[in-house]
């Protein structure tokens, strides 16, 4: 009897071990973490009529496509630092292109570090933290060395061909100017093509480890360089500049316009702007093709079933909105909203669109939750897992996006702008309201043409009061006391 009892106990132990082993295997999914630079929601899966993006659309069709995901500060360095630390700009004090988050928080555990601590192989190829583009391509940029066990910094023919790039604003560097090149040669010769190639090799050689592989593409950031065939996808005759009413700017505070784009359309002619739009979309399709190569590799290596794929862009992008805003650095919907797609194997919500308001700081706790690993305590973001199961779960989301303006010819003092979005409204304050306020009703006015904060009625005042309370829980609204570089905001 005793022997039989012992046998039973042994049997249970063995069963437990088997179950535990199985659990370990399935609870350690790989993570393919794809970052794109300056990519707006100019994607088919976001309803863009022009974009030809079959690969990202395919990812969205198999994952959850977040249609209301908002970054925390629409500029490369701050948004990337925020997403990768899971902390808000006011916590890491990163507002410009130069400051590193470890200056404020030397011991912060980044998202890739959290995966290292959990035994993952963690590597980066291309732009994940900030780089100056194109100057720093091929270097480590403003990297965070503790985040990675391995890094790859390919440098393609695009960097060698900068002299061929057409610059619509010759007085500016091609990093900031509308500039483009329909390049000769193949995808694989471009930096982003090389990044995909190297990432595929890393996936293949680490197929047996759980891996966290961060793949960062440099396009569609300026200069808009893509192989010529992607330019051919878009006929300039079919492209338009966005509509806005003639008096659109009359109710918008000066501070709301990007400090480096004070003149509408940089004073460029319409045909030049249309060409820039074509070049931008060409780069979007080029990056889409590289994402397609990564997805194909996942399938070929039979890793798709055990890999969480997340695709995000550091922030949104303007292509001439509000009578001539270009690029980023605004708190309008087009810059604050950015693509976020998560495909976690087996989730019931896969294939659906999620219209809940989520923030980029939610990515950190979501990925650690999906991998069942420890996240640092006190992260302000929310775990999106329940939305991956049912994208219509009640969520009550608020998203806060901010931007710091330098003192310049327009503004006597630096101005902090803070904006909050809920499922219906966007409310924005400049210098805590001193330099202007904006309220937009997205039910009635999705393009943010009518600023309801100008002479608000009592109903709108209530909305403002409610949103202001939520806003100040998430951002101070003050110009930081820590140093920042005015020319690099």
């Amino acid at each position: 009897m005793k022997l039989i009892g012992t046998l039973f106990v042994l049997l249970f132990l063995v069963c437990d071990a088997v179950v535990a082993a199985g659990t370990v295997r399935s609870s350690k999914p790989n993570v393919l973490f794809i970052a794109v630079d300056d990519l707006a929601c100019t994607l088919g899966c976001y309803g863009d009529q022009v974009a030809k993006t079959p690969n990202i659309d395919r990812l969205a069709a198999r994952g959850v496509c977040f249609h209301r995901a908002y970054n925390q500060l629409p500029l490369c360095n701050p948004t990337r630092a925020s997403l990768l630390t899971g902390l808000r700009p006011d916590q890491i004090k990163v507002y410009d292109l130069d400051r590193h988050f470890r200056e404020e928080l030397p011991d912060v555990v980044t998202l890739p570090q959290a995966f290292q601590h959990a035994g993952y192989y963690v590597a980066r190829v291309g732009k994940i933290y900030h780089y100056n583009v194109p100057a720093s391509i091929g270097t480590n940029g403003l990297d965070d060395p503790p985040s990675w066990m391995h890094v790859g910094n390919p440098k393609g023919r695009d960097t060698a061909e900068e002299h061929l790039v057409f610059n619509a604003e010759p007085n500016k560097k091609i990093s900031a100017a509308l500039s483009w090149l329909a390049a000769e040669g193949s995808d694989e010769e471009q930096t982003d093509g090389m990044i995909a190639t190297e990432a595929i090799q890393l996936m293949a050689s680490n197929a047996d480890n759980p891996f966290f592989l961060a793949v960062g593409f440099f396009r569609p950031h300026t200069p808009y360089i893509a192989p010529k065939k992607y330019f051919d996808l878009y006929s300039t005759g079919n492209l338009q500049l966005p509509y806005a009413p003639q008096d659109d700017r009359e109710d918008i505070p000066i501070a709301a316009f990007a400090h480096n784009c004070p003149n509408p359309d940089y004073g460029l002619e319409k045909d030049v702007l249309i060409q820039a739009t074509q070049a931008y979309y060409a780069c979007v399709s080029f990056v889409d093709a590289q994402v397609g190569r990564l997805l194909d590799a996942l399938d070929q290596l039979e890793l798709a079933e055990n890999t969480v794929v997340v695709l995000w862009s550091d922030h949104g992008y303007h292509l001439g909105d509000h009578l001539g805003i270009w690029q980023k650095r605004t708190l309008f919907e087009q810059a604050a909203r950015a693509p976020l797609i998560i495909r976690a194997p087996g989730k019931a919500g896969n294939g659906q669109v999620c219209r809940r308001v989520v923030e980029f700081i939610d990515v950190y706790p979501s990925l650690t939750s999906l991998a069942n690993i420890q996240a640092p305590s006190g992260l302000p973001g929310r775990d999106l897992s329940s939305l991956l199961v049912d994208p219509r779960t009640q969520w009550n989301g608020y998203a806060v996006t901010q931007v710091l303006r330098p003192a310049d010819g327009r503004l006597p003092q630096p101005v902090m702008g803070c904006s909050i979005r809920d499922h219906r409204w966007r409310y924005t304050e400049w210098a805590e309201g001193e330099a202007g306020v904006e309220l937009y009703d997205h039910h009635a006015d999705p393009m943010e043409f009518h600023n309801l904060a100008v002479g608000p009625d009592s109903g709108n005042s209530d909305v403002i009061e409610r949103l202001r309370t939520q806003l100040y829980k998430r951002a101070s609204g003050k110009v930081p006391s820590t140093p920042f570089q005015s020319k690099r905001l």
Partner: protein
């Protein structure tokens, strides 16, 4: 002077010709969202027109032609937004509660006149081709026993959403069969001859093309675009290139929906492929309606035929998280309503006043001839109003009720507002001007008191005149009294 005589001559010819009895062709689709028609999109904002994503549209040039050359009614509603009761109202001119068919699968009363029985007496040949759904439970039941007086019913079947038909010695039958040999909804490789929409069109072309001298009433009643959402090639892949997105009103948060929807808020999962197939069915319908118009044109009957196109109700197609119909939301209750008769209706007319499917029979009869008495109908004769683009002389409103033998809601519609009284919620007032998405209840908001009282008066008058017992259900009656006194 000579010119004047010519005009007088022409005018008298016109008059003579107008005296000839007009043919009537009534085209009815099933569960058809009005936003899928180009002619309706022209009268909507971009957000309302492109409900399934920017640029996600199906072109319908043939149906649009009816609107261009006739009248488009922009506020037409299913009198009860479910198949049988709406069809009963359509064909009898009576409200559903008085037809024997308050809800699906009931039998139409045989002791009341129908559009067909009235026209039979004037020597029309009356034919019904396609889905009838007023003969009780029979399925498919070809040449149903209860037939509304249609003299040609060889290709009339009672119910079912079949996709493939074939001719037989006696008439037609469902050609797709399940494993058990029973008729099936399967597509079964249906082609341009056997697919339901094509097959019924061919039968209708035969019927309207016959050489008989008497005028005709032809009803062609398509089972599409009701589910199952399947369609023959090439329509099944025609919209693969479009990126369908859920409607604006899908998956909203913090919206307190009306309780008259019944049950918990549905969590229908949006499936783009269902919409692709739906668009395919609409495109196939449009091409077939084009064939029908072409056939009438070829045999010289186009301009002497009153052509009406409508549907028995809408399909929410994921608006408000829902599929199908049954409630008073626009996507569910609103129907296409196009009428072409160049002799009477000026091309390009737009009728923005309420029109109910109950108004169809008296309107068609009076368009055909002023001789008919339309006093016995409960629906309104709008034959003059639609030509002049003015409100009907009798009542400016139309009335809707839920399908069923028990009250759930009743509704009154004016050119802008919709008032809904239900058994389980406070009154709801939708303002199509300020809130075309129908997300907000405007009942009780300052400025709506007068319109609420007017609508309530009208609804009360309707219920008394037309024996609608739903209005006496205690909660509805209480709401009605509340509305009658609001702001006083």
């Amino acid at each position: 002077m000579r010119f004047l005589i010519l005009i007088l001559l022409l005018a008298s010819c016109e008059k003579l010709r107008a005296a000839e009895p007009a043919n009537i062709l009534l085209i009815v689709t099933d569960e058809h969202n009005f936003r899928t028609l180009g002619c309706y999109r022209d009268y909507l904002s971009k957000e309302q027109a492109e409900m399934w994503g920017p640029g996600v549209i199906v072109e319908t040039p043939h149906i649009d032609r009816l609107a261009k050359e006739g009248v488009i009614c922009t506020r037409a509603y299913a009198t009860a937004p479910v198949c049988s009761p709406c069809r009963a109202a359509m064909i009898t001119g009576l409200y559903p509660q008085n037809t024997g068919v308050p809800t699906n699968n009931y039998k139409l009363r045989t002791d009341i006149p129908t559009l067909a029985s009235v026209l039979n007496q004037s020597g029309y040949r009356t034919g019904f081709i396609g889905k009838w759904h007023l003969g009780g439970e029979g399925k498919p039941e070809w040449s149903p026993e209860i037939d509304g007086g249609f003299s040609h019913k060889k290709y009339m079947f009672n119910r079912g959403h079949w996709k493939k038909f074939a001719l037989t010695n006696s008439g037609a039958d469902v050609a797709a069969r399940g494993k058990d040999g029973e008729p099936s909804y399967s597509l079964d490789n249906a082609d341009e001859k056997s697919f339901s929409t094509d097959f019924l069109t061919d039968r209708c072309i035969d019927f309207v093309g016959r050489k008989e001298s008497e005028p005709f009433l032809a009803v062609v009643s398509y089972p599409d675009p009701h589910g199952p959402n399947t369609v023959r090639a090439p329509y099944n892949t025609m919209f693969d290139h479009l990126r369908f997105l859920p409607p604006r009103t899908y998956g909203l948060e913090d919206v307190i929906g009306p309780k008259w929807l019944g049950g918990e808020k549905g969590h229908t999962t949006f499936k783009a492929d269902q919409m692709r197939q739906y668009f395919g069915m609409v495109k196939c319908l449009d091409d077939n309606i084009g064939r029908l118009l072409h056939a009438l044109e070829a045999n010289g009957k186009l301009d002497s035929t009153i052509i009406m196109m409508t549907s028995d109700h809408g399909d929410l197609c994921y608006e408000h998280d829902r599929l199908n119909k049954g409630n008073p939301y626009e996507g569910s209750a609103r129907v296409p309503m196009l009428i072409r008769l160049p002799k009477k209706i000026p091309a390009g007319s737009v009728y923005r006043q309420p029109f109910g499917t109950v108004d169809i029979t008296p309107t068609l009869l009076h368009l055909a001839s002023n001789e008919y008495s339309v006093d016995t109908f409960q629906g309104r004769d709008l034959s003059v109003a639609i030509c002049d683009e003015v409100p009907a002389a009798t009542s400016k409103h139309t009335f809707l009720r839920n399908a069923g033998t028990k009250a759930s809601w009743i509704c009154v519609v004016d050119p802008r507002y919709k008032l809904i009284l239900s058994v389980n919620d406070r009154p709801w007032l939708f303002d199509n001007q300020q809130d075309p998405d129908e997300l907000h209840n405007f009942f009780g908001r300052p400025g709506t008191e007068t319109v609420t009282r007017m609508l309530a008066e009208s609804l009360k008058g309707y219920s008394v005149a037309n024996d609608d017992a739903f209005a006496t259900q205690p909660t509805i009656a209480k709401s009605l009294n509340l509305c009658l006194q609001v702001g006083l």
